[in-house]
Symmetry: C2
């Protein structure tokens, strides 16, 4: 384990893999040619290492971004004949506006209570802006996921809530930190039986500007979104096995998700996660380590807008769950890991503590017992009782880049990526080599 | 002076003026309807205070941004049928590409020496990318202007240097800090007798990506820019006088520039400067202060892409320079001021030191003697001997937003803007009330 950790810290394999996925392939939204190329690429890299590789067919949503523009066509004090540009991005899954756009007054609300208090009389025919601030303080304290959770509720469900009251479009303030006029995209969904209206995220700055002006008088916005939802596309999870020497049927998954949003090149989210999983196999091969159980590298498809990869795998493995000893995923960036979280039975702690102790030498010795599934792709497995684990990254800046054009390769700190690889490698190899499986 | 300082710190007048210029008017590029509206607005506000207002005619360049897109059409490892988006923005003054764009291989250089070493053989027919990093360390130490100066040389002169060797377009890495995939625009110029080629700034991230890929093999970029240079437009400097009680012909200028780039709303650059200058007049009126000399508020037009306001004023006043006692301008944001710089004779120090001492109570007590003109619009006056002064702002984050879409009202810290107003007000009132003019 010590050798594995040191080798991980000294290697740039994960960094090179991340660079290739981001720079040479690019954005990898489900259904895109780049996502298809990424599947081929990871499969080929794993075959190069001598792993047994399988592409598991996954049918994925195929949503394609189009034109996306916003401009204020009316606001107090405006110069005659002008408009003011609003920077926004369509949410994944959103329907399009009519070709000529939608022009309507904007109503600004700070939460669902305010929306509902206004009611149909004030909302009908309007564009609703949810001006919900991402809690930067919470994120700065390391609780970025909590801050994200608060804001993302409006991104996910805001359109249908507004449509129920007759709104013609819904905007939300970007669910993410910092303010460099960057829109944060992400998934959204429509409630059954409710009119589907276009949905987009505006930047924090544009939300502030609209709120400032709307407090002074009527503000009208022209919104043009031309995304398309095409028929589901065939794609795949990449599954690559490093066969166990004693219990080849018993599986420890190491994973990240291969798809990304389309605005950036998905470096932090989640080329880094795939790369550190690939690195586990690479290091075992390099060092000639033979785990007792099979280490299965999975590059999941479609975490971002459907979770079809995780759910398809679960369906296909539902009669083989007992052989899944653990599932590990990294999907919260590539910041310095302070340890790992584990959704496991309390009896597993004595088995995991020695691993945490070893990782302490690179500052990753925290063992946090989670009270629910960790990470999305592996959550169906965990809900069915498979122990789930994930590195705990320093995510204080993660949500500044999350789902924006700025999630690019340069955001990866090489040393910190290697630290993440060390955590995943040691964790996987140790669990794959335990005398007894983790209790469940 | 103490009363003036305290009143400035307690007032939100400058903040409200800044908000109006940014949010209610918007981007104010020279020649735009918003710039015209801003001229009217500031004139009306100054008239409201009872000042004598004059619009000084200034003919300004009228450059209008169009479509601006970049995409890599060839690079090592690319998925068939894909391109990779490059985020860029045309530089002010750039000519357009042909309507169908320019597609050509990219040559990456780190400086002019590398460009010239490659020579015509390697540059002809290519797009040159100047991958010159903005020195963030220097900026973090408070020397943002030095860091900017290093990078901006390539923005300003890069196109002609590349065109001399036969390049078909020039790109520069954005001259500014932080990396949130934001392009920084700005002015550029063409050398006489050299072919005019299109010029744009790419984001720091895109520069890194292109450099990374170009080191592996051929990279081709398709560049589309459709800016237009229209005939010069009529615009104006706003000149508003608060007449002096004893020497009304003697003038102390307080100023900022009213035009801005078009990507953001020009909050830091330079609505804030105009607003603190307006505040000087407002406070004198509010407190019933009657300076001995005239305090002249000037909102300059066209600092960004021509300096026509500053040069026109100088031309019109060239026989009245002796009556210009001092010119003060704020154009480096609205960060906490630590004092002021002065391009003055050493004999002026004993007259300025007591002002600095008073300002020390708000942390703005530094008196820095400059070895050349401070600020651009007032530089012709200074070159002709008029003492020039400027607040010294904490500019450590200024170049992160400079000339980007993110230079918006929310970047103004209300308290710090008020501190800037206090510096300008105290400085102007004190100099306007000195028994003798500053030596020259």
């Amino acid at each position: 384990m010590k050798r594995l950790q040191q080798a991980a810290l000294a290697s740039d394999y994960a960094l090179k893999q991340t660079a290739f996925m981001c720079n040479n392939i690019g954005p990898r939204l489900s259904g895109s040619p780049q996502a298809a190329r990424a599947v081929e690429y990871v499969a080929a890299e794993m075959r190069k290492l001598g792993l047994e590789v399988k592409l598991e067919k996954v049918m994925v949503p195929h949503w394609v971004r189009g034109v996306e523009t916003g401009e204020l066509t009316q606001f107090p004090g405006m110069a005659p004949g002008t408009t003011q540009k609003i920077i926004l991005t369509a949410l994944g899954g959103s329907v399009a506006t009519p070709a000529g756009g939608i022009t309507a007054p904007v109503v600004v609300v700070n939460n669902y209570d305010e929306l509902n208090a206004l009611g149909e009389a004030k909302i009908k025919g309007k564009i609703v802006l949810y001006n919900v601030k991402f809690d930067e303080q919470l994120a700065a304290q390391g609780n970025g996921l909590d801050a994200y959770g608060q804001a993302v509720a409006y991104r996910g469900g805001g359109a249908s809530a507004a449509a129920r009251l007759g709104a013609v479009a819904a905007l939300n303030r970007s669910a993410g930190g910092k303010a460099y006029r960057l829109p944060h995209t992400g998934g959204m969904g429509y409630a059954e039986g409710v009119n589907k209206i276009p949905a987009a995220s505006v930047t924090a700055e544009d939300a502030e500007t609209i709120a400032h002006l709307a407090a002074q008088g009527e503000v009208k916005l022209k919104l043009v979104l031309t995304p398309q939802t095409l028929p589901d596309a065939e794609s795949a999870n990449v599954i690559a096995d490093l066969k166990g020497s004693e219990f080849p049927d018993q599986i420890v998954i190491v994973s990240g998700h291969l798809d990304s949003w389309d605005l950036g090149t998905g470096a932090l989210d989640d080329a880094a996660g795939v790369a550190v999983a690939m690195q586990v196999a690479n290091l075992c091969k390099q060092l000639g380590l033979k785990p007792k159980r099979t280490i299965r590298v999975i590059a999941w498809m479609n975490e971002e807008n459907g979770l079809r990869g995780g759910t398809t795998y679960f369906q296909n493995q539902r009669n083989n769950l007992a052989n899944h000893i653990a599932a590990i995923e990294s999907d919260l960036g590539a910041g310095h890991p302070t340890g790992f979280s584990a959704f496991v039975k309390p009896q597993a702690v004595p088995m995991l503590q020695p691993i945490a102790n070893l990782l302490q030498s690179s500052g990753a010795g925290l063992l946090r017992i989670a009270d629910g599934p960790v990470e999305a792709d592996i959550s169906p497995l965990q809900q069915a009782g498979v122990p789930g684990l994930a590195p705990i990254q320093d995510n204080r800046t993660y949500f500044d880049y999350h789902h924006t054009p700025a999630d690019t390769f340069d955001k990866i700190v090489p040393r910190e990526l290697a630290e993440n690889a060390a955590v995943m490698a040691v964790l996987a190899y140790a669990i794959a080599s335990l005398p007894e499986p983790l209790p469940r």
